[in-house]
Symmetry: C2
Subunit: 155 residues, 2 copies
């Protein structure tokens, strides 16, 4: 990922701080959007995890493509965390996103940035031929996902 | 978008031809995945359309970022069109994807490739400063979406 894109992302994250939205319908759409984006990430990482764990054979082209897709989508979900869109807020869509996110916004934002960077590293490694390093990096990405889920997602 | 990525995409599309999956649960997940990916695209294109139509002010950074996001996600939904995942097939998730997709697979695949290319063109234009060209290209992308919906999505 070129630096210019990371800069754009950083700018986005800064301005996305629980952005105000104009209606409950907008909040509902934002929740659905972030769930969609996270769903795409889950789908893309699935085979990467399976290859890293030896459940399916490593295929260089598939691995590289999915790693690139994952890195491309990693910056996207976060703009969906708009004001009023967490558990306990008044909206029409179920969400597992805990109210702690608003209280710990800086930590949540820092975890977003870590995920963006770790997936970019995975995509870079996937263009090479060090599969051991790719496997370790898949574990790092998965741990990054899990860290946020453990802290900010309802059981 | 670098040529290498377009080549990867082309390879993916070729091998994705109504790929066999192993269970109804897999089919359901594939339907949800493609709906997620298309939902992300709809979210990203929204403000591009609003800027192109003058409903909101043109903002170069936002326009470029969303155009890049759109181009990054455009190759993703199609692997979710697996065998047995269309209307009339036996699966557990509602879908608007008509059975005609399987009958006209080559046309459907060609439309995917057109969308990938048109969104890549939009992202490229968005890095420049010709807003009139960007507006025209947003219309082209929207028409590409609509063409496929008109043919292959239930009303």
């Amino acid at each position: 990922m070129p630096l210019s894109r990371l800069s754009l992302i950083a700018a986005t994250l800064t301005t996305a701080l629980l952005a105000s939205t104009s209606s409950q319908a907008d909040v509902d759409k934002a929740i659905e959007y972030r769930q969609d984006a996270l769903g795409v990430m889950a789908w893309q990482i699935g085979p990467l995890g399976d290859m890293a764990q030896g459940k399916i054979d490593y295929d260089a082209e598939t691995f590289a493509r999915r790693a690139e897709n994952l890195a491309a989508v990693a910056p996207l979900p976060w703009e969906g965390f708009v004001e009023g869109s967490l558990r306990g807020d008044d909206h029409g869509v179920d969400t597992d996103a805990l109210a702690d996110i608003a209280e710990d916004w800086e930590d949540f934002e820092s975890r977003q940035q870590t995920l963006i960077e770790e997936t970019a590293t995975l995509a870079e490694l996937a263009r090479g031929d060090d599969f051991a390093a790719m496997r370790r990096q898949v574990a790092t990405v998965a741990d990054t996902c899990k860290g946020c889920h453990d802290n900010y997602r309802a059981e």
